[in-house]
Symmetry: C2
Subunit: 138 residues, 2 copies
DNA sequence: GCTTATTCCTATAATTCCGATAGGATTTAT
DNA sequence: ATAAATCCTATCGGAATTATAGGAATAAGC
């Protein structure tokens, strides 16, 4: 499962993709996200370079890149960490599992890597611009 | 990410698949799993019908079904819940997301379902008997 | 300039989950 | 009897998750 935060983040970004610039208050209301929590999430998304902001009256948030250039995988990695089911199955952020005796002979890693590749193929091919499209998995 | 518990569970079950009956102490030692924690995990696996146990001296655990009939998906669902990335993307345990306005028009559900199907295809085709094999995804 | 609407910053809090440990009761083979 | 194992109940620290509170800083419009 991804976190509530990740679901909020995706929905907020898609809102921006569909409606253009918007304030936190607007997004929070339309997407049914707690306003104060959304503030924290948008700050994080800004740090990761997904959005830019303008302060003051009539300020708000804007996508920093075209919606067609931001994938679900990008967002989920930023908000929830690796897509993989175990640290040792991540290709973008490999880490040894704490208790692992020997990575090479680990009995479960192979399958977890296959699962991560399958998920990544879908999520890397799904973009904010058209999240309902069937991902073209190649 | 799956939980530590799930990784322990998979490794413990694969140990049984490979070496036949074994006690908690034996599995814990060979698989580098905390003994007391493994006790709790095996109890849970028994409740779910993956293993049977014998008490007393020379007791221990046995797979309740052939290793080739227990998939990674079976085990992970028992120890970690649905494979899906969101409650509303699960096919085996669908739940509405708490904050969801309308399931039908949810902007992220489509992709999450596609991701869940991709993962499930792999994990349902990977078995304790041969976890290193490439899953035959059909 | 004042007001208002906004982002930004820091701090805190409640709850839950995770990973584990402790101690002993019960069962069974030898 | 003894030893080796599962079973049972209880507890626990720490981390993560999901927020909320309160106000400072900024900018637009009148």
């Amino acid at each position: 499962m991804i976190s509530q935060k990740s679901r909020y983040a995706l929905r907020a970004l898609i809102h921006l993709a569909r409606h253009g610039d918007a304030s936190i208050a607007t997004i929070a209301e339309h997407e049914n996200i707690p306003r104060k929590y959304l503030e924290a999430i948008m700050a994080e998304l800004k740090l990761h370079g997904f959005v830019t902001s303008r302060r003051g009256k009539s300020g708000g948030y804007t996508l920093a890149r075209p919606a067609s250039a931001i994938s679900f995988a990008d967002v989920l990695r930023a908000t929830d960490g690796p897509l993989a089911l175990a640290p040792c199955a991540s290709r973008t952020a490999y880490r040894r599992c704490e208790d692992c005796v020997d990575v090479e002979t680990c009995s479960i890693r192979h399958a977890l890597i296959a699962a991560r590749d399958a998920t990544a193929a879908v999520l890397e091919a799904t973009f904010l611009s058209d999240p309902e499209a069937d991902a073209e998995v190649t």
